[in-house]
Symmetry: C2
Subunit: 553 residues, 2 copies
Amino acid sequence: MSLLQPWQEKAAKKRTSLYDLIPQEWRLPKSIINNPPKNSTIVPSQCGILSKLDLEITEIDNIEELAHRIAQEKYSAVQVIEAYCKRAAIAHQLVNCLAEILFTQALERAQYLDDYFKSTGGKTIGPFHGIPISFKDQFNIKGIETAMAYIGYLGDIAENNSVLVDIVLSLGAVLYVKTALPQTVMLPETRSHLLGITLNPLNRELSCGGSSGGEGSLIAMKGSICGLGTDIGGSIRFPTALNGIYGLKPSDGRIPYGRARNSFDGQESVPSVIGPMTRSLSNIRLFFKSILETKPWLIDPQVHNIPWREDLFQEGQMNKLSFGVIQFDQKVHLSPPVQRAINMSINALEKAGHQVIQWDTIDHPEGIDILVKMYQADGGKDVQKALDLSGESIVPGAFVGKPETEISIYEYWQLNVARRDYAMKYLEKWNKTKEITSTGRPIDGIISPICGLPAYPHEYQISIEYTGIVNLLQLTSVILPITRVDLQLDQITDEYRNMKIASDLDKMAKETYKGPEVFENCIVGLQIICRRLEEEKAIGMAMVLEKALELYQ
Amino acid sequence: MSLLQPWQEKAAKKRTSLYDLIPQEWRLPKSIINNPPKNSTIVPSQCGILSKLDLEITEIDNIEELAHRIAQEKYSAVQVIEAYCKRAAIAHQLVNCLAEILFTQALERAQYLDDYFKSTGGKTIGPFHGIPISFKDQFNIKGIETAMAYIGYLGDIAENNSVLVDIVLSLGAVLYVKTALPQTVMLPETRSHLLGITLNPLNRELSCGGSSGGEGSLIAMKGSICGLGTDIGGSIRFPTALNGIYGLKPSDGRIPYGRARNSFDGQESVPSVIGPMTRSLSNIRLFFKSILETKPWLIDPQVHNIPWREDLFQEGQMNKLSFGVIQFDQKVHLSPPVQRAINMSINALEKAGHQVIQWDTIDHPEGIDILVKMYQADGGKDVQKALDLSGESIVPGAFVGKPETEISIYEYWQLNVARRDYAMKYLEKWNKTKEITSTGRPIDGIISPICGLPAYPHEYQISIEYTGIVNLLQLTSVILPITRVDLQLDQITDEYRNMKIASDLDKMAKETYKGPEVFENCIVGLQIICRRLEEEKAIGMAMVLEKALELYQ
């Protein structure tokens, strides 16, 4: 007789069947599996599974470059997808980042693209011809399960593609994996009874973040060049920052969410948004621009008809920009490496002729309070219904309501009013900065940490003051890696040691930052926040920061 | 001892103090007051209160023309506002359309504008320099009461202007009145214990519509050249159509709602929107374009940063357009004059080379069901709180919830999901029309009635199937007058007489349409519906229809 609960058995079966989809010849040797290095990213080039060509292909960070090489027949689409399937398989064995494996379908699709290319005398289907695109397991792919890390959703086969899946296919992309997410989708790490825990490829003792952690870790392993995550409180930004990659959290209404699934479906006060997670800023630009060029508002009623605005992108690259900077969210102080990343950014921007002024966050806790009440307004009923399907228990730490947090519709409407009034005050604060900038304009954007720590251990509770305001106000944010944790430079300073503890979360963060050794190999990511619906400008400004950092170093 | 309830006394006092603000010399003679003509619009030119100049000024329908004459010093701003104050005062005495009278402030403001003009050697403040703009009493004007037709809100003095009030002032406008609306703001007529009933200027035995009925009737009286209403189920469109004027119901996020008041404040599933009601399509274009040119998204966080798009406006004026047409909403059949307006529109458009195809509304009742559940989700608590402030009773017929209609947050979220799925299906239906249009594109827009009758009596319950879907899906709609009820042409036909009754509402409508005599002097208005956020195109298409009708007649 099995000692497992029926739901545990179902989960185990799912994990096994997923694993079984990895061909034998792509399986890592027991020596690595049993004794993996702390830094998983070194394995792909050393394990012998990837050919020289596979490595060459998967080391290209730039989508345009890879697409160019396919269009120039340097690589076939089949070669590219084979390389990525292999590398994704290796990644999964090391960090447990996948939710669905579609290697067979991917090879068929790549073959179709190669045939199309040949039969048309060298035509590509679109800018993503032959480019592998990974999707968090909230997206529907016709004929494939969308379990969304709920055991109760196993067997839920999608009848249609999500709108965004259709769009990337229309542009020539190849689907090959869906990636792991946490149960409830409301957790800043990637953990579920169904899929287990996803590890951070840079340092497996740490979390890969969440909820889009499968994407983050897969991309850091270079098992994907571009994937799609979602963000309702930081779910793109945590894993983007923690895995040292690039990402965009747009405002609601730009990237189509149609026919994608979610927890709290129908909760529209703080809309979840979809954004690309990838390996360069130019990829973000290309992806976002390419999606908009298909006019997604014609097929998804929730998308605004706002095309790519080149002028706004250029506005983000002006010679003299003015940045606000957040150095403390009122809850958790910055650990030395994050503080150093902020300092580097300030210095680099000032050296490049831009201005940086302090951004006051005294009102952030008030905003987060509204946000959390919105998350929890249903008293956790939505999640409970999903759990009840299988009988599984909830993972601890999820931002999910309990019976006592349920409120009435009237109270919910008052929360919306509170959010709207808060947004108005926040915008007034933003506009008022024109009195102190040297440009005469209000600040163009804000540089902000994602988190006080460069990364965090598994089952760690984080503050969302650095990320949540962006969701509450539907601002736009671009995340980029700034610097790697340095064993010398990031020692605990007297200032950090003697800092007044601001909250329980601050206490925990300080206890966790025992020194840079704990965060060895981690990369600190920061975000550039712009006004609502100013995605193009945020991308432009992130490019300015990246360039300034290059020149500064 | 008074036989009145305290709230009745307060209301009476308010009405009296409002009336007292009308100067003696602008008071209509008792002969008219005691025996007003059915058609109030004939009074202003006959009553002797308006000078020849006053009449000349107020008969100009075009904002641009009026602004031009002010800028050319043909009229001073003071002359213009005096003329409009007088005419608004006359209108109020006839149809009871005002909620606040600001004549003194208006004259001061006009004097300021004239002084500015002189002192700057002929500079105007903006495109609305000296133009009177009226506002429904949901808008805040600093220092003025915003009672919103609730007795309990009397004494609620606004501390700040609504965002849109600030914007029109920045463009040079003059505020002079706020207009009547129904208690609850959820009634398709304009009736409250506070302000009484507003009558239809074209035929005082009929309703002026609602909830923006004060605007509609004031503008029909030419007591305003342009006013602002709001629409959550038809509240701009009913009074626009019933008063024979022009209006725009935009999608959410284009015209700033910041610091305006509302019933159900915070109810965001079906957002109420603001739109201009006015006396020509070119005024709608000018108003909308002028507001957008101030970049309202920089000061109101709910506004999308979408500028005026001239290309989309031009797209609405293409040589060959394809229109869907709605002739039955599944609930109420079209009465003869409305059917004739539809037929005229179809014939005129086809003669002008455009295509018109039938638009299926089989799914409209399903959408309206979702919409009404959303309105009533709070069980009427919001309105009850407003009523409780004074003890007044609710006006019958309001689309307001009762305790038994209250739902949980979880159920509310499911309603949002239902609306989103409905929107997706509706859009698919729209896109599928490209298979049957001769343009090869999906239909460009839809011609639709506002109501089965050309107007309706007071305290009449109407169907919102013709209007509500536009709100549920946040589509855009431009309303224009098509034809006047004709005592010969609009006799009851055998077809109308023998039509199968579709619903109780249909039965009531048929009983109400006793013949064209009942609707003497009424004008039938129709709406052009375009996709979400396609305001510019809808304006362009309405112009096409108006031009086609001119050529056709």
